[in-house]
Symmetry: C2
Subunit: 553 residues, 2 copies
């Protein structure tokens, strides 16, 4: 079999990580991209705003890229899109809600001339040589799609983010029959969501949360404040529907929540009873028992509406005794302490807070093991690539597939950038393209690298001590200084003696250099760094960055 007649599947993000999902699928000279997500930086990426996939491979094959296909509107699937489209402007296909969200995002980035193509479930569009079929799935945002790529060699099926919700809020159940039909035809490769592959059992239906809301709203006498992800349109819908049932008005608080409610109700994804929504300025006009507030801040984000409310810093909403706050979300890994802090602050303000796991106020949007088994058995792909997950999730998903009888040799636990070449009878990992993290810091895309991060790390731990020495350019004599300035190291006013001693150490270092007739600045600086560094560590147990600056006059 010649290489030409194979399909190349190249994950550019989302493998070995949760976030920045992106997959390139190539057949001969045609490439389509599924999703273009971003990731929020891990703690050690100091100062970084967001992380996007490295798209060098796509840049090198710009002319071959035909389209970007989107599975749904979450940031980890569409957040990288503006950055990709700035480089590669191709048509973007997605569901109506997905593209509604994307449109807003592109506006913010002043990207006007992008071709956005709305597709509906079961639509089949032709992007030669592919036929692309879109399949309805359930997830924690409406209008999510799986994508089946009909290629000359067979079907490549990408589940996108998926759960098998048997009672979704909008009644639009996962298109099981389409999955069954594709399985029956024969799926060559399946790429499957692994996020919850280490959770046993089934993921609860979104309706469960509605039932809990019903129970809680029926009991609460004061105001009810619900926080959830701004994109969880069905969750917000359930808040509104339950409020309606109990005769409460709803105020939507937080910019992204307001935007999402606007977009999704305009596009018909929400059913908002006439007159139920009120402005937040008007909350005070109603009795406590007639108010529901739905707000951003479920992750304890420092600038979010809920955090402002919890710190008594919100313009319109302040906690009152009798308020009940429902945290209708679980912390994304890394946000646990922020969320806990918000809960504490809300309690301190006098609210009752419902946040516990098992309180029934949140369900995941991803399939657990039993659902994943059903999917794998429905589809029975020839080759299987677990995607969307840290390494342990991919491994668990692989083992699950193996336990169902898919041979281990046909399962690929891959890395971002690896090329999985799939032929009709054979599949191999045949190479690797550039892949990794592109760091976005302010306006800079990819300009912050290891050196800058390493410096930030050192600065963050023990601060900096700057030593300025002014020397005569002819004689080499010190004419001013050493001047010493420090930041983030010690509180200067209480450390005069330390600074004086530091100057002595610098002078000692300079004298040594002078005696030895050393005049190369690099050597002098190294000497200062060593002497002073050792001294400071002895005195303080800290290792600030030491930055000698020599000025010639």
């Amino acid at each position: 079999m010649s290489e030409e007649s194979r399909i190349k599947i190249i994950p550019l993000g989302g493998l070995g990580e949760i976030g920045k999902n992106m997959t390139a699928i190539r057949y001969q000279d045609s490439i389509v991209i599924i999703d273009a997500g971003l990731m929020f930086p891990e703690e050690e990426l100091l100062g970084i705003d967001i992380v996007i996939p490295d798209i060098s491979y796509l840049m090198e094959n710009k002319d071959k890229v035909k389209a970007i296909l989107l599975t749904h509107g979450h940031e980890d699937h569409v957040g990288g899109l503006p950055y990709v489209l700035k480089e590669i402007n191709v048509p973007v296909y997605g569901s109506r809600l997905t593209l509604g969200i994307v449109e807003e995002k592109l506006k913010e980035h002043n990207l006007g001339s992008v071709q956005l193509q709305v597709v509906r479930p079961r639509d089949v569009i032709s992007i030669s040589p592919f036929e692309v079929e879109f399949i309805r799935v359930s997830h924690s945002i409406p209008d999510a799609l799986a994508i089946a790529l009909h290629t000359p060699l067979g079907i490549v099926l990408h589940t996108g983010d998926i759960k098998l919700d048997q009672t979704p809020v909008d009644g639009e159940v996962v298109d099981f029959r389409k999955f069954a039909e594709l399985g029956e035809k024969g799926v060559l490769v399946m790429l499957g969501d692994s996020t919850n592959a280490d959770k046993n059992g089934f993921t609860m239906s979104e309706k469960v949360v509605g039932n809990t809301f019903d129970e809680l709203f029926g009991k609460c006498e004061g105001r009810i404040i619900v926080t959830t992800f701004a994109s969880n349109v069905h969750r917000i819908q359930q808040v509104i529907s339950t409020a309606q049932k109990y005769g409460r008005k709803v105020a939507v608080v937080g910019r992204s929540m307001v935007n999402n409610v606007r977009i999704s109700s305009q596009l018909g994804y929400m059913n908002i009873p006439e007159g139920i929504l009120i402005e937040m300025e008007d909350i005070g006009k109603y009795p406590a028992g007639e108010i529901v507030i739905v707000t951003t801040g479920s992750q304890g984000e420092p600038m979010s509406a809920l955090t402002r409310i919890a710190t008594a810093d919100h313009r319109w909403v302040a906690i009152e005794p009798g308020d009940t706050v429902i945290i209708s979300a679980t912390p994304i890994p890394g946000n646990e302490k922020l969320v806990a802090k918000t809960v504490d602050l809300l309690f301190r303000q006098g609210a009752e807070v419902i946040y516990e796991k098992g309180a029934g106020v949140h369900v995941s949007g991803h399939a657990s093991q039993e659902e994943l088994k059903i999917l794998l058995n429905l589809i029975r792909p020839r080759y299987f690539i677990p995607v969307h997950g840290e390494y342990r999730h991919l491994m668990k998903h692989a083992k699950l597939a193996e336990s169902l009888g898919i041979p281990r040799s046909r399962i690929f636990v891959a890395e971002n950038g690896q090329i999985i070449e799939v032929g009709k009878k054979k599949a191999v990992i045949s190479g690797k393209v550039a892949a990794g993290k592109v760091l976005v810091d302010g306006l800079g895309v990819g300009d912050v690298g290891n050196i800058v991060l390493r410096d930030r790390k050192q600065l963050s731990q023990d601060g900096i001590m700057i030593v300025v020495v002014t020397i005569n350019k002819d004689s080499g004599e010190v004419v001013a200084g050493p001047d010493i300035v420090s930041r983030g190291f010690v509180y200067v006013r209480e450390s005069e003696r330390l600074i004086e001693n530091a100057k002595e150490k610098v002078n000692e270092a300079l004298e040594i250099c002078s005696k030895r007739n050393i005049s190369e600045w690099a050597v002098i600086k190294a000497q200062v760094r060593e002497k002073l560094g050792k001294h400071l560590f002895e005195k303080t147990g800290r290792r600030p960055m030491i930055l000698p600056i020599i000025v010639e006059v």
Copy 2:
């Protein structure tokens, strides 16, 4: 009732936080201290090593402090002890294991002359005017004690950290009957562990983990690597006992684990079968199926043995195919991502890793709601103070007590430093003493404050740009510079133009000052900071710290 005849209970740590537990109990001119813990710094405390309680109140009343009573040997109860004893050298009472651990710690701090007094459960010692009674409890370290302070006004009972394990590994059940006896006599005030007050049901027995080990050890054919907290002596005991049953040798890896096994077996808290322990250098001499490794690193600590093993950086232990790693711990809040990363690395190295919640490889050391109810009902204190917990835990514990019929007016959800004055018939919060976080950074105790931390924060996000301008002290003319150096801001070699432009901006600022005849350095510096800051933000979207340094020659 005169103030003199009241007991003052002053929590100095452990309220509104998990960690640095410390309570002062005062009657007239006598103070005893229960525990002196440390806390590991939260993320925003950049560069800080540990956090200890503020003991100003005790320093001001040094002559009144009679003793420090320890409930058990965990860091959050004894870790602050060296710092306290350096200031206030009083006798320390604790169980044999607790003091064994403390002794090691004091040696490291070169504190030799401390009077350590071993007590046993049911011992009653006299520290006038108190009679102090020690009561056996279960926790995740052996030899844990509750403390009943018999005072002239009544009994003050502090549970310490507690769970009601009905089948503890050492067979030493919580002294229920003593609690019942005290309850029957009448307890004036109870201070109760709130760590798990938001968990419903019962905390599982430590024996459950033993059963899981039994099942897993019976199944595994390769090596077994178990990681847990170094202080969880019973857990380590269960690893060793199960290894014995299945004919495996045990290697103990990691400094603190080795120390704790040594101390607790010397003191008789572990039962180590002859010849079962091997040195880690000798692991290779045995077949995989005959080896168990028990190691530190259950929190994914970067320097720990398990992390080194996971990164293939350990001198003696490397993961081999067929290894099973059991993570016998849950991540402490804030450590979730570190632990997840370690699990991923272990999978990548080829190990099978058992880490999931619900895998039965870990149980908590703290009582859940049903146990807390039992305790409260056994004791039925007149006044109740929930301790050891973030605010939400204290609130949940308070509500639990209320649900059992203890009037809300007799329950005190307090803050560190508040003085809870308790008389026979009345209790009030009567004031506040200094309390808070003392930050330890290197050798400095309490010298890092808000300014230093704020600087570290800014440096960590966008780095620093240093501008050195050298001026003639007579003419005020610029004779050298501006010289610009940056760290943690941009990668300098790729930013020559940015730096050149920055110099221009500085010159512009200097010219403005010169034209306006401004010669105050503070004003010139402010001008440079503003002009340059604005320029850099426009160009990069970042706000580095800008540090103008003016040198006079």
